[in-house]
């Protein structure tokens, strides 16, 4: 189990990580989410013991993260590459050996992972001769070759085609089933939503939401409504003008909205029945992770703006405080 406890990291004048706490448990996948510059990479570098926190503590299985724990961590950073001239199999063996695996075991494991990721035929090719997608699978294999207890994947799917994405997703699920703790940092909400059991959402170096994904959704309630209808859609404008809903999507005869200020989904249905000719589909849903992410980040930004003196001409929006669950 990985426990990050009130960790702070500063680079010069910039506070990159500000009192961040979260936990990642064995046999589960934690999604580390956040906009660009939120501090995700800074957190991961401290977890992998590349840098040290200025304050706070990081523990892996009860012991502080140090040089020894590096051997049981697999890391696929966002800024990654391969030795261009080195043969693929040799790269895996080299990096496994750096993690303390003996030569014979490193060779065996390298062959296993190359086959598992369907790049075994290229084992004796130098990396520069591989396509980008194949190189990405090798980088993924590097993170797994020493059978780590904690696997950290920073944007592992970026630029990958759906077939290879699915292959990698399956491998991640297998590692989870085998009891590994997995941290998955990404911007791709639908993938995080599919894969992750827990999430930790950070922005501006602070944790906005953290906890079990299902519980977080439940806490938000079925606060979105999807409608398909025939007829005029002016009733939507009235709902928005009254401050009852916020439109998430709007097409001809189709809309998705989030309830505001305790407005009920039933009231939306009633308004639609009154104003439209017929309703083909109506559903009240839990918010998507994307919505949770966007709302949390925009609320946090609004709170920051409200806290700092605003310039005279600005149109600051009053943010709604976001509940933290854990």
């Amino acid at each position: 189990m990985l426990e990050v406890d009130r960790v702070t990291k500063r680079y010069g004048d910039k506070l990159a990580v500000d009192g961040v706490s979260f936990a990642a448990r064995p046999g589960r996948i934690l999604g580390l989410l956040g906009p660009n510059g939120a501090g995700k990479t800074s957190i991961l570098r401290m977890v992998t013991n590349i840098t040290k926190p200025d304050a706070g503590a990081i523990q892996l299985d009860g012991a502080p993260v140090d040089r020894k724990s590096q051997a049981v961590i697999g890391y696929m950073p966002e800024e990654r590459g391969l030795y261009r001239r080195m043969k693929v199999h040799d790269q895996l063996v080299y990096l496994a050996r750096l993690k303390g695996i003996d030569r014979a075991e490193a060779r065996r494991s390298a062959t296993h992972w190359l086959d598992a990721l369907e790049v075994g035929d290229w084992r004796n090719q130098p990396a520069r001769e591989l396509s980008r997608g194949m190189q990405q699978k090798i980088q993924f294999a590097i993170a797994l070759v020493h059978s780590p207890r904690l696997v950290i994947l920073d944007e592992p799917f970026s630029g990958l085609d759906p077939i290879n994405s699915a292959l990698m997703e399956q491998v991640i699920r297998d590692r989870k089933a085998a009891g590994a703790t997995i941290i998955f940092a990404s911007h791709r909400m639908e993938q995080v939503e599919e894969l992750c059991d827990d999430i930790c959402l950070v922005a501006s170096g602070k944790v906005l939401i953290s906890g079990e994904l299902a519980a977080i959704k439940l806490a938000q309630g079925r606060n979105t409504v999807a409608l398909e209808f025939a007829g005029r859609d002016a009733f939507l404008d009235s709902l928005v003008a009254a401050g009852n809903v916020e439109l998430l999507k709007r097409d001809a005869g189709r809309a998705e909205m989030r309830m505001l200020n305790g407005y009920s989904a039933q009231a939306v249905l009633d308004a639609a029945q009154r104003a439209t000719e017929s309703i083909y589909r109506y559903s009240a849903n839990f918010p998507s992770l994307r919505d949770i992410f966007l709302t949390a980040v925009s609320n946090a930004n609004a709170a920051t703006e409200a806290a700092t003196p605003a310039p005279p001409a600005s149109n600051s929006v009053q943010g709604k405080p976001m509940a933290q669950t854990s």
Binding site: G12, Y83, R84, G100
Partner: protein, 431 residues
């Protein structure tokens, strides 16, 4: 971990086509150039031999020309010149004679030799020494000298400087040899292979592998492994060069001996005494100076690898700071400053071994590998200074590798950016 990094780095570089090519081509080129020069000069000398040079001699004394003919140096034929100097010079210009030797009436005045080609410095000296030697003999023979006086005039006693030490007498003058050899070796290694270290570190960063590697090992281990591998690669290459060159040289010598002619023209003959002098000097050095006391040699051998380590760390830091080869190349002068510092102190060791600058040079970790052993050969260096020099050098070089590791780790935070001076503080001091 260090062993894994070292082995991987070494194998990766040694197996490259460039390494194999350079390792094989350099001895081929060196011996090839040598053989070509020897062949060309043997052709020259055989041509020269066929055409014996005719030197006209203007001899108002009437005795020197005869003496020159009797001395018979070979390669030259001395003939009497036409009546006037001007006519004789014209004859030389017209190709009638190969040269004109004008002997002054007063033998204490200046001698002049005119020819269309100046000839090599060796030839000029050999001719001068030969002519002046003959003139000296002629002038001495005009006086009745006792054999004792003659021996006195011909004698060339030696003058030896012996340093008294607690261990006995030290005839050695190996300071220059050790100091210069160590300094040159270090400079050569640093210039050639320091650049390789920079390249290797830059590659690690540019290939975006550095972050993955330092999530497994300390940056210190990564850089130490890379620098040691660069040193081992250098040692391998130099050893291969020496072995291959020696084999090729032996083969070339054998081929010359079997099929060719050895250069044996007048220039070679004239150069004879000079060559003899040089080998005598070498003999002198061999018996007196080239076998210095063992402690300075041991210290030189001990500090040489650390000397490479400390200089290579500067290159490694530059490689860690930059991703762009051009940016990095533009700053290599920074890495050369400490090398030039050692090189500029080295000549002072013999002249003023106890001066503050030389004492400083023998303690300063960057210059100690070259200066400390050399200084120990010239003067009595207090034991504490020897100890301090060695400890400072070893500690300094490890500290420099550590510092380069900080730079590498810090610079991971600024992928794709050229670092500014103001970033350096964060790079070095943030954890």
């Amino acid at each position: 971990m260090l062993g894994v990094i070292f082995a991987s780095e070494y194998q990766r570089k040694v197996k490259t086509r460039t390494f194999v090519l350079v390792t094989l081509l350099v001895p081929l080129l060196a011996v090839g150039v040598g053989v070509t020069v020897a062949l060309v000069s043997s052709i020259d000398s055989s041509t020269d031999e066929a055409e014996e040079r005719e030197i006209a001699v203007l001899d108002p004394t009437g005795s020197i020309l005869t003496a020159l003919r009797q001395a018979d140096r070979g390669g030259y034929r001395f003939v009497a010149a036409a009546a006037s100097a001007e006519t004789a010079k014209q004859t030389v210009l017209d190709g009638g004679h190969d040269g004109l030797l004008a002997i002054p009436a007063d033998l204490d005045a200046g001698f002049h030799f005119y020819s269309r080609q100046r000839g090599s410095i060796g030839e000029q000296r050999a001719l001068r020494d030969f002519v002046l030697g003959v003139v000296r003999e002629v002038r001495l023979s005009q006086h009745e000298l006792s054999p004792q006086l003659r021996a006195l005039l011909d004698g060339r006693p030696s003058f030896n400087i012996v340093r008294l030490t607690d261990d006995g007498e030290d005839h050695g003058d190996g300071a220059f040899v050790i100091g210069t050899v160590t300094a040159m070796l270090l400079m050569g290694l640093v210039v050639i292979y320091g650049g390789n270290v920079m390249q290797a570190v830059m590659e690690e960063k540019a290939s975006r592998m550095a972050e993955i590697v330092v999530s497994a090992v300390r940056p210190f281990d990564l850089l130490l492994g890379k620098i040691l591998a660069a040193a081992a690669i250098g040692a391998t290459q130099v050893a291969a060069w020496i072995t291959l060159s020696s084999l090729l040289f032996l083969a070339a010598t054998f081929a010359f001996a079997t099929f060719g002619t050895a250069p044996d023209g007048p220039s070679a003959q004239l150069a004879g005494p000079a060559v003899q002098d040089a080998s005598e000097t070498l003999d002198n050095l061999r018996t007196h100076g080239l076998i210095p006391s063992p402690l300075p040699v041991a210290i030189a051998l001990l500090l040489l690898p650390f000397g490479f380590l400390i200089h290579a760390s500067v290159f490694a830091s530059l490689g860690a700071l930059y991703e762009n080869a051009v940016d990095a190349q533009n700053t290599t002068f920074v890495a050369m400053i400490p090398v030039l510092f050692s090189a500029s102190i080295a000549p002072l060791v013999g002249q003023m071994p106890d001066s503050t600058i030389v004492a400083f040079g023998s303690l300063f970790p960057f210059s100690a590998p070259a200066i400390l052993p050399a200084r120990m050969l010239v003067t009595d260096v207090p034991a504490w200074q020897v100890g301090a020099g060695v400890v400072l050098c070893i500690a300094g070089s490890l500290a420099m590798v550590w510092l380069a590791g900080r730079v590498l780790r810090g610079s991971l935070l600024s992928y794709g950016k050229t670092p500014k001076l103001s970033d350096l503080r964060h790079i070095l001091f943030s954890d």
